[in-house]
């Protein structure tokens, strides 16, 4: 372990005191922040030379961001346990036998969730709930099943204090699936996030329309292009955290992101960007991710000692890593300016959009050529990821999104631009559309757009009603009323509310064009 300076220790001690005294953090949020502060004193990773200069500057300058993963990863960032195995076999470590009815199944899951770590200390994936619960759904009368599910979801919302937790349903309609949609529509809660794996060839319209109805009340579920994800990650994939496609029974070791706009800023011109700057930053970020993965696999001991691995709920060789990026739109705009074509903007101009595609092709090719020995499940490569942004991002649009305020006037033009970019990101990319209230009376309108979009290679879409309290910030959900509470200085239950407040201020997410 390398030494660190006295000043860094002192700075951290001050930060710790601030955390302890914070009036707006709950106890759980303080504990998590204290752990991060302790971790920030570590120096154990074998990081590539040149990283510091790209990683440590402020948001206007930094080219790589490691999304608060810390200095010594104690667990993989995202863990996707095999819940089906758990409900079938129980767990020796948790001293639980397989459940025999719906009550036991739900109770088992709630127990298990408390033992699934992640970067946020809360489970980022809570299971394919319709399939998991369908075998138990008829063990009680329907009204009891609905009541139990309601309690189950309320329990999750109030104890999983972070809306990066994600449940999946679909693509086939089930009784459990319908009940889940019914309950979520009534509850209008932020947690858990919910995705319908949708395939127009498999999913009945009636079920998909129930999902739209639910989404226009509670901003969920989102729609995932099941055919596309299945082709890339096999049918053994899940949607976790914001919208991340990951292998079942595994997960992602790490997620770092390129801040493309800042790489464009440090480039002399387009040629310099393509030939020097982008390849340089990609290489350093990939080697930084290699170093994190090496520590997790070879030194942290997680895969040897945690019960999830020991009992086979996760498998080390089903983990991959996410090579993220943000700010493609701003990157293209900056490069067009440097080429003397300032008026040609991403999302509107064909030449600008073409440049966006060229940049993505280059990053895709880089990733195909980079090899990591511990990402066997994805052919030894990372998975590209269009990261949704963080609260601190200023003038950096999530992933490959068109900046808020610059959305094309017509939704069809917006979708046609996106259709060129979603295909690059098996580990997630998505777009969000607030929908005018009149659509409540025509959910088929939304479903037609989803069907058309998936036929046009879009991967993941979210909708919410312009009037609802629960809204989608970038990938996660937050209640507007909770943001208001927090901004008036009161503590709130979920840590994501603070992120939502930041995103409202810096990312203008409340100003999205209503469709």
């Amino acid at each position: 372990m390398r030494e660190i300076s006295k000043t860094r220790v002192e700075d951290t001690r001050n930060k710790i005191l601030d955390i302890i005294k914070s009036p707006t953090l709950t106890h759980e949020q303080k504990v998590a922040n204290l752990a991060n502060a302790a971790d920030s004193l570590m120096e154990v990773l074998d990081v590539p030379e040149g990283l510091e200069e790209l990683l440590s500057p402020g948001i206007e300058e930094k080219c790589i961001c490691d999304l608060f993963e810390g200095q010594a990863p104690v667990r993989p960032r995202y863990i996707i346990p095999d819940y089906a195995k758990f409900l079938k076999e129980g767990s020796e470590f948790l001293q639980l036998k397989p459940p025999t009815d719906l009550m036991e199944a739900l109770n088992h899951l709630l127990i298990f969730y408390k033992h699934v770590p992640s970067v946020t200390n809360f489970p980022v994936y809570v299971g394919q709930l319709d399939e998991l619960l369908e075998p138990f759904i008829d063990t009680v009368p329907e009204d009891v099943a609905k009541k139990l599910l309601k309690m189950f979801f309320v329990h999750m919302d109030r104890t999983i204090l972070d809306s990066f937790s994600h449940a999946n349903i679909g693509p086939k309609a089930t009784k459990a699936g319908y009940l889940i949609l019914e309950v979520e529509k009534e509850l209008e809660q932020a947690v858990p996030n919910l995705t319908l794996k949708y395939d127009p060839k498999v999913t009945e319209d009636e079920f998909a329309l129930a999902a739209v109805e639910c989404a226009l009340h509670s901003a969920k579920p989102s729609f995932a292009n099941h055919e596309m994800f299945s082709k890339e990650l096999t049918s053994e994939y899940v949607i976790a955290s914001c919208y991340n496609g990951l292998p079942y029974g595994g997960g992602s070791y790490t997620l770092c992101r390129l801040i493309l706009s800042n790489i464009a800023k440090r480039s002399k011109d387009l040629k310099d960007f393509k030939e020097n700057q982008l390849p340089y930053v990609c290489d350093i970020m990939a080697r930084y991710m290699d170093a994190r993965i090496k520590f997790e696999v070879e030194e942290s001991g997680f895969f040897e000692h945690n019960f999830l691995a020991k009992e086979g709920f996760i498998h080390r060789d089903r983990f991959s890593a996410m090579f993220g990026l943000v700010g493609l739109a701003e990157c293209v705009n900056i490069l067009m300016e440097k080429e003397g074509k300032a008026g040609k903007r991403f999302g509107h101009d064909e030449e600008a959009n073409d440049l966006g595609v060229e940049i993505m092709d280059q990053i895709y090719a880089f990733n195909e050529n980079h090899h990591n020995p511990y990402c066997e499940i994805t052919g030894g490569h990372f998975l590209l990821h269009a990261q949704v942004g963080i609260a601190e991002d200023v003038n950096v649009s999530p992933g490959v999104r068109i900046p808020i305020g610059e959305e094309p006037k017509e939704l069809v033009d917006h979708l046609l631009v996106l259709s060129r970019f979603h295909k690059y990101f098996p580990s997630g990319v998505g777009d969000i559309f607030p929908i005018d209230l009149t659509v409540h009376k025509n959910p088929e309108f939304v479903l037609d757009i989803v069907k058309g979009s998936f036929a046009k290679d879009l991967r993941y879409l979210s909708f919410y009603s312009s009037e609802s309290d629960v809204i989608r910030i970038t990938g996660y959900l937050v209640k507007r009323s909770e943001i208001e509470k927090l901004s008036s200085g009161q503590a709130v239950l979920q840590d994501t509310t603070a992120l939502g407040m930041g995103a409202a201020k810096n990312g203008h997410i409340l100003e999205r064009k209503i469709r």
Partner: protein
């Protein structure tokens, strides 16, 4: 053959089932007091009033005709506000092929197209040609019409029309004249004809308490439609008057109470109509 098109809306959630591209034609053969897009009623007379008031110079007069330059327009609608003719200089003469080229971009996001207006039935030939092209592309075809032309006389058009969404502005003839300036004999004849053909997709009624007795009209319309087999499937849309877009002299009409709309809904439900939408 060309038709005057006011504009084409790529995605619409309110002009029939699912997502549809809507073509708004220019010109109308009624003059409804509560018309919420009165600038679609008449054709441009090339008087040039709008040219003088355009703040961006998007309009100019060439050979005594008003010419519209789309690339300079900022959609402030000043031209529409100053027009005394109930028209718009922003219209375009288009063939069915040209219109369909603008529709194509929305495939596969849409399930169909709807022609509206103004009044689409003023251009029966262009609509028929357009619908033939739409059908070839697998799109459904709907007309949003005031029913003032005799559909009986256009069997070709109806062959390619999946359904008509018909306005019955008022059942009582006297009030219909008061609202629109014209009697409703043809409208009701068309309603009956389309209902028999199973092509009456939707009946719309705009409820304006200050203008006519809404409940009475809804009741009579319901009783009239009930005579036809399969009437249960005719979608009924009760639209509350709202002052948006309405000419100043008529914008003072009151919006109906939600309660009275609900009353009308339950009246229709009792008659057996399955789908009643309040907007």
């Amino acid at each position: 053959m060309k038709a005057v098109v006011n504009h084409i809306l790529p995605f619409s959630s309110v002009d029939g089932p699912g997502n549809r591209t809507v073509i708004f034609f220019q010109g109308c053969n009624l003059d409804c007091k509560y018309c919420h897009n009165p600038e679609t009623r008449n054709l441009c007379g090339h008087c040039g009033d709008c040219v003088k008031s355009c703040p961006t110079g998007a309009l100019l007069k060439r050979e005594n005709k008003v010419v519209y330059q789309k690339d300079k327009c900022v959609d402030c609608d000043t031209c529409i506000k100053v027009c005394k003719q109930g028209a718009s200089p922003k219209t375009k003469e288009m063939t069915a092929k040209e219109i369909f080229a603008a529709v194509k971009k929305q495939i596969p996001f849409i399930r169909g197209i709807t022609v509206s207006g103004g009044e689409c039935s003023l251009y029966p030939q262009v609509v028929e040609e357009l619908f033939v092209l739409a059908k070839e592309a697998g799109l459904s075809t709907l007309m949003d019409s005031n029913g003032m032309i005799s559909f009986k006389e256009y069997p070709g058009l109806l062959q390619y029309t999946d359904g008509v969404m018909l306005d019955i502005k008022c059942f009582k003839e006297k009030d219909h004249i008061k609202i629109t300036g014209h009697p409703n004999t043809m409208v009701l004849e068309n309603a009956a004809y389309l209902a028999q053909l199973n092509k009456l997709e939707e009946v719309r009624m705009v409820i304006v308490p200050d203008l006519y007795e809404g409940k009475e009209s809804v009741k009579k319309t319901g009783e009239f439609l009930r005579k036809f087999p399969g009437f249960e499937k005719i979608r009924i849309k009760l639209i509350a008057f709202r002052p948006m877009g309405v000419r100043k002299e008529y914008a003072h009409y009151k919006t109906p109470e939600q309660e009275s709309l609900e009353e009308m809904r339950s009246l229709l439900q009792k008659m057996g109509f399955e789908t009643i939408i309040l907007i």
